[in-house]
């Protein structure tokens, strides 16, 4: 069965012994600072509402302390919510019994961690089969399924190595293989690539996108890096102080930042790789003998095609090669270099 979407509704998390007592106050507008100073409780999540799309990558972005890691841990309930719902296949994860939760974690979710969290006393192969072992899958079958993913993430030949014999990038490949071997509908990735070197990170992002194209799981990806968010995210939610301050596609956020805070963020972004030609094309008449650019291309690709052909303008075509609009090199470059302000 195809993966379903995840609905997070009115989710609150207040850390402290009497968190429940303050939900009403927070709902009424009490701020994080006030809650902390007056009552000694920490506001972790403040009224989170996100519809995470089925079979796509939902990125949750925020700086440290914004509550993003807390949020992802509510989806498999590693952290108990104070109030609210997390719905998957019409079931509220927050209301599951202990045994239902165990089954949900075993069969529906798999998680990749920032610090890898591999089992140091087990080999790569045994780490990868861990989830299946917990489910009670026979060893021969588990090994066969694990081998496929070990090969796929490029660790062929390392099955019998121990985690601390591997580099960080390779360890996270094990983490990814371990999660994928579970064949769960939901893939939770908590800053999965943040601890890696930039080059290896880009590499791993490519691996993830490649695998996702094939599997189409519902992925929840946490990051503090906007470039990573824009590259991976079908949808992005930006968190600050435990609240969602903007959500939408990468392009929506870059073109229309909701406030000063976000426009500061997006200012540094390479807009040529986020904005699609469709956004700036003009529905003018077809230009004869011009270069064609497929709909959905990013501005950077369009600019490259135009300059390669030494053309001033081009036709944008849809999948059946029908022209749906035109762009000029001037508009393309202008859109790439002018940041949106709030």
């Amino acid at each position: 069965m195809a993966s379903q979407g995840i609905e997070v509704r009115n989710l609150y998390k207040i850390f402290g012994p009497r968190g429940k007592d303050y939900v009403e106050a927070v709902r009424g507008g009490m701020s994080k600072t006030e809650l902390n100073e007056k009552h000694g409780h920490v506001l972790g999540l403040n009224d989170i509402n996100i519809s995470m799309p089925a079979g796509q990558i939902q990125v949750v972005m925020g700086l440290s302390g914004s509550g993003k890691s807390t949020l992802i841990r509510h989806i498999n309930r590693l952290i108990e919510p104070t109030s609210g719902e997390v719905l998957y296949e019409d079931t509220d994860v927050c209301k599951m019994s202990d045994s239902e939760l165990l089954e949900f974690r075993r069969n529906k979710t798999a998680m990749v961690f920032q610090k890898f969290a591999l089992l140091p006393h087990r080999t790569v192969l045994k780490n990868t089969t861990y989830g299946l072992e917990l489910q009670g899958v026979a060893e021969a079958e588990a090994t066969e399924r694990a081998k496929r993913w070990i090969d796929r993430v490029g660790l062929d030949g390392f099955e019998d190595h121990y985690p601390n014999q591997l580099s960080g990038g390779m360890q996270q490949r094990v983490g990814l293989a371990r999660a994928l071997t579970n064949d769960a509908d939901i893939l939770l990735m908590d800053e999965a690539f943040s601890a890696l070197d930039p080059l290896i990170r880009t590499d791993m992002q490519a691996v993830l996108l490649d695998i996702q194209q094939e599997l189409q799981k519902t992925v929840v990806f946490i990051t503090h890096d906007l470039d990573e968010a824009l590259r991976l995210g079908d949808r992005i939610a930006i968190l600050r102080d435990g609240a969602v301050i903007q959500q939408g596609t990468g392009q929506e956020i870059v073109l229309n930042p909701a406030d000063e805070y976000i426009s500061d963020f997006v200012k540094e972004v390479n807009r040529g790789r986020v904005i699609k030609v469709d956004t700036i094309m003009k529905p003018e008449k077809v230009i004869a003998d011009a270069v064609t650019i497929p709909s959905g291309s990013m501005l950077e690709e369009a600019a490259k095609k135009l300059t390669n052909a030494s053309a001033m303008s081009a036709n944008v075509v849809d999948s059946s090669n029908a022209v749906i609009g035109t762009i000029t090199i001037h508009d393309t470059i202008e859109a790439m270099v002018t940041p949106a302000t709030h």
């Binding site: 798999a110 591999l118 089992l119 140091p120 087990r122 121990y162």
Partner: protein, 295 residues
């Protein structure tokens, strides 16, 4: 002024009655339950007796072969194997073979008993802070109270013999394995535990797939300490009738036999060294996954 120079003691008669009351109560308890307690420990007595006879009756060349085999299995070190053979030959040549075997039997059974009771107790302690706060002071008492003090009630209950000796040894030797099992489990990396949770491990699965394997090196350090402490109790156990090297040491003390005392004492040391090296090597081998580290 008297109150400052003379401590305001309990009245002499009251104090005497107080002590007498406790003694009487315990004597009553002994009369009432002594036999059933003795019966309870009877299987242990039978097992220890059987084990002693087995070890003593085994021909010495076969025994040396078996012990060297065990040393090899535990340590994978030829040096240790030859060291053990040499030690045993010297001990036997100096006329201490049988006593050494008795002591070996006592230490083995005591260690087994400590592991069987101590590891589950340590696991229990690691599960709850409350259990830990109850058991920790008891372990402190067991380690610090002079061993002669708990010999008194043991003697009153069970008299002189092998089982009381074994119990005395275990009381002194069990704390390290309990403490280090508890500590080992508590020190397991929180991130790894969270990963086990995220993949849906039940508490039991978590214990056996993550906590115990990762605590094993610490648990083994505890077992090593337990063995060492059991050996330290050999002479005290001899006081209440356990055969072995300890009894010879006692004889030497009573009669001022310097050579006898030294020889038996050094035999105990030799056994201790073999046990210690083998169990340490074995503990290290349990951590082979952490030996090779990515440069």
């Amino acid at each position: 002024m008297g109150i400052l120079t003379e401590f305001p003691e309990m009245g002499r008669a009251d104090l005497r009655d107080f002590k007498k009351g406790i003694d009487e109560a315990f004597r009553l308890f002994t009369r009432e339950y002594g036999e059933s307690i003795e019966n309870f420990f009877f299987p242990l007595l039978k097992f220890l007796g059987w084990f002693e006879r087995l070890i003593v009756a085994t021909p010495w060349p076969l025994m040396i072969l078996i012990l060297s085999g065990l040393v090899w299995a535990g340590s994978r070190s030829w040096g240790l194997v030859f060291g053990t053979i040499f030690t045993l030959l010297v001990v036997g040549y100096l006329g201490m073979w049988e006593d050494t075997m008795f002591t070996l039997a006592l230490i083995s059974v005591a260690t087994m008993l400590c592991i069987i009771i101590g590891i589950p107790l340590g696991i229990l302690m690691s599960k709850s802070d409350r259990t830990q706060s109850v058991i920790t002071p008891i372990l402190d008492i067991m380690q610090t109270i002079p061993s002669f003090v708990y010999l008194i009630p043991i003697l009153m209950l069970l008299g002189i013999g092998k089982v009381p000796g074994l119990i005395a040894v275990c009381i002194y030797a069990i704390p390290p394995v309990v403490r280090l099992t508890n500590l080992g489990i508590r020190l397991v990396d929180k991130d790894v535990l969270e990963a086990a949770d995220a993949f849906g491990a039940s508490p039991r699965q978590k214990l056996w797939t993550v906590q115990m394997p990762l605590a094993l090196p610490n648990i083994f350090a505890g077992v090593n300490q337990t063995i060492m402490m059991a050996l330290a109790m050999v002479v005290v156990a001899a006081l209440i009738g356990v055969h072995g090297l300890g009894q010879e040491v006692l004889k030497a003390v009573n009669n001022q036999y310097l050579a006898l005392g030294m020889m038996n004492g050094l035999a105990i040391v030799a056994i201790a060294i073999v046990f210690d090296r083998v169990s340490q090597k074995f503990g290290k081998r349990l951590q082979k996954h952490s030996e090779v580290i990515h440069g």
